[in-house]
């Protein structure tokens, strides 16, 4: 047995003992250097291989490789175990209070009335209605006359009007309505005329927007409010089509089982005119203060477009016909969310707005 073999065996035993005893990755690194490095002990021993008799050389060489592999294996294993232990220790030290609050991210809110108007747009879009818009600062001609509401007609009482002042008259202390008949539109109906004049039949549009009325403010009235107007003009749309559409709309908005009532109404710009009710959402139809004991709530007005309005829009009423309807999204939003005061809609009360995630 050559000395070299003995030295290798003792290196193996000594190294294993020291590797087992190593307590840190640094120590292991130092050991790797000392034992297996380029100028380490194993290399030093191998340098003696030349002095070993030739016939023994393969066996000793094999032994040397075996020792190297073994020590490398042990070293890696020890290193991995130590890394795990280090990581465990670090993780243990890093524990946090999982009950602590999160870092807040702000979430924005959309206005509930505008969200309801979006839902109406989507609903009517499914029936082929497109959106058409018109100005809020209107003329009496469009707001009234072209809609078959002549001056000093009693039906004007249905729309108390805010008049734009003649320029300079307010400043002069003598406010008077503008001579050119400019007013704030009292409804979205003037957009019917604008749509008829701008589009070719078949016309199927909804016309959402802000309206203004000379109206004292209380929990259910405001001087600014929203409306969504609808208009269909073609050659053969009938009152039965209007009824079918309104019933579908009521079901879409208030549920498949909602009771509906299609009854005569009055608007100068429709003939026949329609009022459309749904069963009271508060009492279910038994009668309560919310529905004035009638069991019904009126949600929109409608009718077949008046021949004179068709003419004003540029159509021959002997050929073209259609229907129009108007809805109050403010009131519909109040019903949707059980809101008791319409004044909350105009203003910036974040206690109110932030109740409606994504506005819905």
């Amino acid at each position: 047995m050559s000395q070299l073999r003995t030295d290798l065996e003792s290196l193996r035993a000594d190294a294993r003992a020291r590797l087992d005893a190593a307590a840190s990755a640094d120590e292991l690194d130092a050991l790797r250097h000392e034992l297996l490095g380029r100028s380490g002990r194993l290399t030093a021993l191998l340098k003696q291989l030349g002095s070993v008799p030739a016939e023994e050389r393969p066996a000793i060489g094999q032994l040397a490789n075996e020792v190297r592999r073994e020590l490398e294996g042990v070293l890696e294993e020890r290193l991995a175990r130590l890394r795990d232990a280090d990581l465990d220790a670090r993780l243990a030290a890093e524990a946090i209070d999982m009950s602590a609050p999160g870092r807040p991210i702000r979430v924005g809110h959309l206005h509930p009335v505008l969200t309801l108007m979006r839902d109406l747009r989507e609903l009517f879009h499914a029936y082929g209605f497109e959106v058409f818009e018109g100005p809020e600062v209107e003329t009496e001609e469009y707001n009234f006359e072209l809609l078959n509401i002549p001056p000093d007609h009693p039906s004007r009482d249905l729309w108390d009007t805010l008049y734009v002042a003649e320029p300079g008259s307010v400043e002069a202390g003598e406010p008077r309505p503008a001579e050119d008949g400019t007013i704030l539109r009292t409804h979205t109906s003037p957009v019917q005329i604008r749509a008829m004049r701008a589009l070719e039949p078949p016309i199927r549009v909804i016309m959402p927007g802000r309206c203004f009325r000379y109206e004292a403010v209380d929990a259910s009235h405001g001087f600014e409010f929203f409306q969504v107007e609808g208009l269909v003009v073609d050659r053969d749309t009938t009152m039965a089509d209007l009824k079918g559409l309104l019933e579908e709309v009521a079901r879409a908005l208030y549920g498949r089982d909602v009771a509906t009532r299609f009854r005569p109404g009055y608007y100068p710009f429709t003939e026949p005119s329609v009022a459309f009710d749904i069963g009271c959402l508060v009492c279910g139809g038994d009668g309560c203060p919310a529905c004035k004991r009638s069991g019904w709530m009126t949600i929109l007005g409608a009718g077949m477009v008046h021949p004179r309005v068709l003419e004003a829009g540029g159509y021959d009423p002997a050929v073209y016909q259609g229907y129009a309807f108007g809805m109050g999204p403010d009131r519909m939003t109040m019903l949707r969310h059980g809101i008791g005061d319409i004044r909350l809609f105009f203003g910036a009360d974040l206690r109110f707005i932030t109740q409606f995630p994504e506005g819905r």
Binding site: H109, V137, A165, P202, Y214, A240, D241, M304, A348, I353
Partner: protein, 814 residues
Amino acid sequence: MRVPLSWLREYVDVTLSPRELTAELTMRGMEVSDVEIGGEGWQNVVVGRVLHVERHPNADTLWLTRVDVGPAGGELEIVCGAQNLEVGQLVPAALPGAVLPGDRRIERSKIRGVVSNGMLCSAVELGLGPDADGIHVLGHHDELPVGQPLGEAIGEVVLDVDVKPNRGDALSMVGLAREIAAFTGAELRVPEPQTVEGDVAVEDRVSVRIEDPELCPRFTALWFDDVANGPSPDWMQQRLVAAGMRPISAVVDVTNYVMHELGQPQHAYDADAIPGGEIVVRRARAGERLETIDHVDRALDERMLVIADRERPIGLAGIMGGASTEVSESTKRVILESAIFHGPTIRNTARRLGLRSEASMRHEKGIGPDLPRLAAYRAAQLIQQITGATLAAGIVDNDPGPHPARRVSVSVSRMERLLGLPLDAGRVRQLLEPLEFGVMGDGDELEISVPSHRLDVALEADVAEEVARAHGYERIAGRLPRAELPPYRTDPSEPRNRVRRVLAGIGLDEVVTHALFDPDDLDRTGYDGSAQHLIRLSNPLSEAHSVLRPVMAPSLLSSLAENARRRRPDAWLFEVGKVYWMHDGPPTPRERASETAGTGRYEAWELGIALNGRPVPVTAGAAVEPADVATLKGIVDALHDALGAPRPEYRAEEPDTRHPHRHPGRAGVITDAQGRPYGSLGEVHPRVAEAWGLPGRPVDATIDLHRLLELVPQRIEARPIPSAQPVDRDLAVVLDETTPVGELLRVTRMSAGPMLTELTLFDVYRGEQIGEGKVSYALSMRFQPDEAGDEKAVEKALNKVRGSLRHHLGAEIR
């Protein structure tokens, strides 16, 4: 219109319950908006009989009564203060535990030492009328059973019917009864007045001259002698009160009664106050005045129609009579007017004088041509009956008729097509005849004769509505939407809605504020509330809502202030709304893109953003900073990113165009790559913030939405995914501190070319090493070469950047 059911029943038999009648009328277009069931406010009030009355032992003005209140209560002692008590009377007795209108509760109580077991009620206590003086006596014999609940005994059901403006004919008991008769098949009973005429000829007493026949197509007059005008009978007073009128005197009450019964407004004049009985119907003359019966002296003008004597106006036609000819209890001779006036003129006059009455309302809606004469004789009958007056022979009437019925030609097939209902001539006849229409013809083309009271039916569509109403709207079979679809159009509101959704996603809350605001709010915000371009109202509800907003800033600041007042100073919010202005002359480019009705007034959509304080509460472990201008820019940039629009550039506002509500050193414009502004932003001027009561340092931005949305690409073209790795380079640049950093970014971006995909300013340094008046900026750039290993191209681009910065900005590159 208030319709007492007992009065209505005089003209038609109603077998429906009040609830059924309400539903039926509503379904026929006579919407019943409320039903008042008389006696609903009475609990435990019964008919009692006074058995005994004696002085209260301890009070001179009180009485102690014994009252039989029927089997349930027996005989009760009740203390009473009224002076009209008599033994044997039937009276309303409120028992202990009773509730009266106004939620007044009656209990057993001691009055001056004597126990009173309830209360005897006056009319006012029962809510039946204004009379508070005495007990409301129900009868003296056996008119009502003693012990019967009072509601059952005398409770009146009153319908509140919302008669539409086109149905003036239904503004009366007979008018409504006619509708009910038509749809129930019951018989209609129209009064057929019987009068006795005296010897005097009316022509010898009254003459009427109509100067403007267009404003007064019909005027009838009757003459009465020997009028004994006192109070009208109880039955008439009760009906008038139930209908909402105040009883005055027999003659006046009769005119009101007939107006409610038949729909014809009338006026009675004290004939002795009209010299020679000469009546002139004419326009008022400039400068004329009239004291109306409400004792208000009114200035008249030529647009108003008056009734005059030889010289002076004695009444406002169709609206209110004059004080000088008012009928009183001493009136002996009366002229009774039943006329038709021009509705629009009456309406206009009534509105301008603020004097709308039951009469003017009916004139506005129109009176059928056959009504004045019927109503005149009906009133004559009642006046004779009640006052014993003598009616002069004959009637003054400028247009006695006959008035031929209006004819409307209709096509059955066109009405079918309009209504979506199967029809034929027989069915049309069956539906219209009960409503008193005549139907002539049997084929497709029919002639419809319209009853004289139906002024609203003139066109085929009007006849179609009557057909639908008679058929029943509820029986029209609804059909699902069908028919050809219009061509697709883009939704003009959708881009605005994208903006709203993005901002809510970024964490802002949406507000909607009034477009009408206070000119003072402009002044408070640093703008001129008296500026010429403001759109003002001539009849604002209040000064607080008298101008349309020309800018968003006051709305935004008021929104922040509203929340600050509620101890919510931290608010990040936005509004998408319109601004409005007036401009004479050729429209500016912005005005050409705005909405307008063509009157020199314009309205345009604008986005306003206002931030104050922190977005979220200060939280342990989180760095939550209050919003500043940089936060606002970050939001504006993010909005552009989310819309796919190129990010804007920012530069300081020029002093002469600076928005007056902003901090002069912290106000900027938002521009496109060509430097064209389309918005502005900055910190709110501390004085403006203080004026609004805003704590902290609020910032705001406003953006022309039309211009912003124009920057959004119509189509997004996908770029190929590069095979090469990006190359990152940093650059340190020293500039004069007077050079805006925006210039550094702009020049860098422009000179680097399309390979530069990201550019970040990651450090700013001032210090001695850099030198006085100098700033060092550190930029990090990411280049995306086309091909792997194309570092040369990157270096070339970088060199170009260095060169441009040196050349254009005098930069020192380190």
